[in-house]
């Protein structure tokens, strides 16, 4: 088992090394064989590990230590894997989606430069992500955390000759750094308070605490850890890097910024559920921020015209949902939404890539329209994904989103305002997703005539992955049908060993009885919101296409605020970026570096030169002055000797 996991981790790393070091000389075919092969093998090993792990409901997590990493006094952490049912779910999701996207990239990146570099980074990312989810301690997880951040930077800035791309890469890395700082301090705090950062030691220790013990420490630590998640998973206020990250190639957006890396924050919170449960205020913060982010991003998405940016804001919004789930202590539902979201969001992005290819790189939806006539497969798969994300029954998103909403209303930590805001957001989600679908694929064609003949369905290398993901977008939902509909909630029950103790702890401390509302009724409400959103989108963009423009004209100021994304980027620029630039330039560069340091160094050189200049006048070549000096010296010396 440990060999399987080790192979699962090392094969993508090996693939990255091969493609990175030698890929320049390989033909494209070999590069993709190595790239897709290593990711495919990782997937097979992940599945094999899952199959052979025999993780029963009561079995403890499988922990295997490969070697000691740090041993410094009381601080001890190993390079080890921690494999429980949550890890199983994550590894399978990550490797399957990654493999599908690798296959898609063969078609998408075929005519782009840097083919080998792309697969190298993609494989490296896969290694880092798997390291993150199988880590047995916070430091090892942090290695993976930073590693995926690095790969994100490399891949966003893949087209680095383009300034906006390299800027976006830097922005992503720097903004997530802020979160990482919080994460590090949080881990340090945990070590200081509990003496260990290894899951196998830390979680039992914290789990044994009574509710309320060490609450302030745990709340602080959990909030700091959550800060890391806010950065990595693009929540308020550190979400600004994700829309810009769309500068990267579309498979990157699909893999990293939809399905996997951004979900690392959610995974981390779920993994740390034992800690969070003992700090209810941290959990409340998590769900509050998640909910606000979901709503906020959804409002921005209403007016965006760039296809990928729409999907980026939609990702931020859906991640908010996952955090609402975690914050309401239904961690399994949060993870479930993670899994379903990975499927349909990756599908949406890959579909967008297909559209981008057809539109010769133009992503402005105002220049699209009617594409479904020429791009049938892309259209139908995109439709499936849109239905899934809108929460229509039968498709994946419905079941996962619904569990979260139910917990937000009913659950022990649920709060009605979160439920209502999240439901409104669900309606908005349905609206803007169908707006995207209608503007891109339906209605009359607004495509410029010279591009019209180029519009074509993509090749099978790209469409087969689309179909695969579409199947998953439907099937994944059936993993957990709620009891209200007669299902068995298999997914939740499967993750019971991971989250059960936490939930029991909360249940035992419930002060008041939670709101009891019929789950069917809640389902009906959210379904109504979704359908309403779809109908309004249909009205706005197909029935009476002039409505959006008239609305924008009547509410000009509101429209402008939304289109400019609430001017958040401009605000951050004013608040942080410009002060730093001015400070660096005026203070650190000109005052300190130029004046003080250069001044000291150059100054001492000048002083030395000046003193030398004075001293050299002694050697004047004038013999009589030499003679005089000798005489003077002799007299002084004799005088000293005689008079002492």
């Amino acid at each position: 088992m440990d060999i399987l996991l080790l192979l699962m981790l090392l094969l993508p790393l090996g693939g990255a090394a091969l493609d990175g070091i030698f890929g320049r000389h390989f033909p494209q075919r070999l590069v993709s064989v190595i790239g897709c092969g290593s990711s495919g093998l990782a997937m097979i090993f992940a599945l094999l590990a899952a199959w052979t792990s025999h993780l029963g409901p009561d079995s403890p997590a499988y922990v295997h230590r490969y070697f000691t990493w740090v041993q410094a006094g009381g601080f001890h952490t190993d390079f080890a894997v921690y494999y429980d049912r949550l890890t199983l779910v994550m590894t399978i999701t990550v490797t399957v989606v990654a493999f599908i996207i690798h296959l898609y990239s063969r078609g998408y990146m075929e005519h782009e430069g840097g083919y080998y570099r792309f697969f190298c980074y993609l494989n490296l990312f896969l290694f880092m992500m798997l390291l993150l989810v199988t880590a047995a301690s916070y430091p090892v997880m942090f290695v993976g955390w930073e590693g995926v951040g690095l790969c994100s930077y490399l891949l966003i800035g893949f087209y680095f000759p383009k300034k906006s791309a390299s800027d976006a890469g830097k922005k992503a890395f720097i903004v997530t750094r802020i979160g990482d700082a919080g994460f590090t301090v949080g881990v340090a705090l945990l070590f200081w308070a509990f003496g260990s950062v290894n899951f196998a030691e830390l979680f039992p220790k914290v789990g044994a605490l009574a509710l309320g013990d060490q609450e302030r420490t745990l709340t602080a630590a959990c909030l700091l850890l959550f800060l890391g998640a806010v950065g990595k998973s693009a929540q308020l206020p550190l979400y600004v890097w994700l829309p810009d990250a769309m500068e990267g190639p579309t498979p990157v957006s699909a893999l990293i910024h939809a399905a996997t890396m951004v979900t690392a924050g959610v995974y981390m919170v779920a993994r740390s559920n034992v800690l969070f449960v003992h700090a209810p205020r941290a959990l409340e913060t998590v769900s509050a921020i998640g909910c606000l982010t979901a709503f906020f991003a959804a409002t921005i998405a209403l007016t965006q015209n760039d296809l990928k940016r729409m999907l980026a804001y939609s990702t931020i919004s859906q991640l908010g949902y996952m955090f609402v789930g975690c914050g309401a202590a239904v961690f399994a539902s949060g993870i479930f939404h993670l899994v379903t979201h990975a499927c349909f969001k990756a599908l949406l992005f890959l579909g967008a890539g297909s559209v981008m290819h057809a539109m010769s790189g133009d992503l402005d939806m105002r220049h699209m329209g009617g594409l479904r006539r020429k791009m049938k497969i892309t259209f139908w798969t995109f439709l499936v994904a849109t239905l899934a994300i809108s929460g229509i029954p039968g498709f994946a998103g419905f079941f996962s989103k619904d569990e979260i909403l139910a917990a937000a209303y009913n659950g022990l930590l649920g709060k009605p305002w979160i439920y209502w805001l999240a439901t409104v957001t669900a309606g908005l989600t349905a609206f803007y997703m169908f707006r995207t679908l209608f503007m891109t694929f339906c209605g009359p064609s607004r495509v410029a005539s010279e591009l019209e003949q180029h519009v074509h369905e993509s090749g099978s290398k790209m469409t087969i992955p689309l179909v695969l993901l579409a199947v998953f977008s439907i099937a994944a939902g059936w993993l957990s049908v709620p009891k209200a509909l007669g299902g068995s909630e298999a997914f939740d029950r499967y993750l019971q060993p991971v989250f059960g103790a936490s939930q029991n702890l909360l249940a035992s401390s419930a002060a008041e009885a939670p709101h009891e509302a019929n789950e069917l009724m809640l389902m009906a409400v959210s379904l109504a919101a979704a359908v309403l959103g779809i109908l309004i989108a249909w009205w706005f963009y197909l029935l009476v296409p002039t409505v959006p423009d008239r609305l924008a004209a009547s509410f000009k100021r509101l429209y402008r605020v939304l289109v400019n994304k609430y001017y958040v980027d401009e605000f951050y620029n004013w608040l942080v970026v410009q002060p730093m630039r001015v400070g660096s330039e005026k203070l650190l560069w000109q005052s300190m570096d130029d004046a003080v340091i250069d001044g000291a160094v150059n100054g001492s050189a000048e002083v030395t030169a000046d003193v030398g200049g004075i001293l050299r006048r002694i050697q004047s070549g004038y013999i009589r002055s030499y003679a005089a000096w000798v005489l003077l010296g002799a007299v002084v010396w004799m005088g000293y000797l005689l008079l002492r």
């Binding site: 050299r616 050697q619 004038y622 013999i623 009589r624």
Partner: protein
């Protein structure tokens, strides 16, 4: 008997004259003569002490000084000749090219 102090005074005067001349005079050969004057003044001082203390060592040292003076004069005059041949001048101030 002549008091020792008289002889030493004479020696001092001669030495001072030689030192002053060494610094003041312009002609190289004159400077050399001043150097010889200083050496002889020192010789006189040695003799005076040897006579006063009835110690032959003083006189012996004078021999050494004379030998050194002679050798030094020989070498120095050779240098002066070479210098004159190159520069055509005996002014000590004109030998100033070894300067910074």
């Amino acid at each position: 008997m002549i008091p020792l102090s008289h002889v030493l005074l004479l020696s001092m005067i001669l030495f001072t004259l030689g030192a002053a001349g060494f610094i003041i005079r312009r002609n190289v050969i004159t400077v050399f003569m001043c150097i010889e004057l200083m050496l002889n003044a020192v010789n006189l001082a040695f003799i005076a002490f040897a006579w006063h203390r009835v110690d032959l060592n003083g006189q012996l040292f004078v021999f050494f000084v004379i030998v050194v003076a002679a050798a030094e004069a020989a070498v120095g005059l050779a240098i002066i000749v070479a210098l004159y041949r190159n520069r055509g001048s005996l002014a000590i101030d004109d030998v100033d090219s070894m300067k910074l």
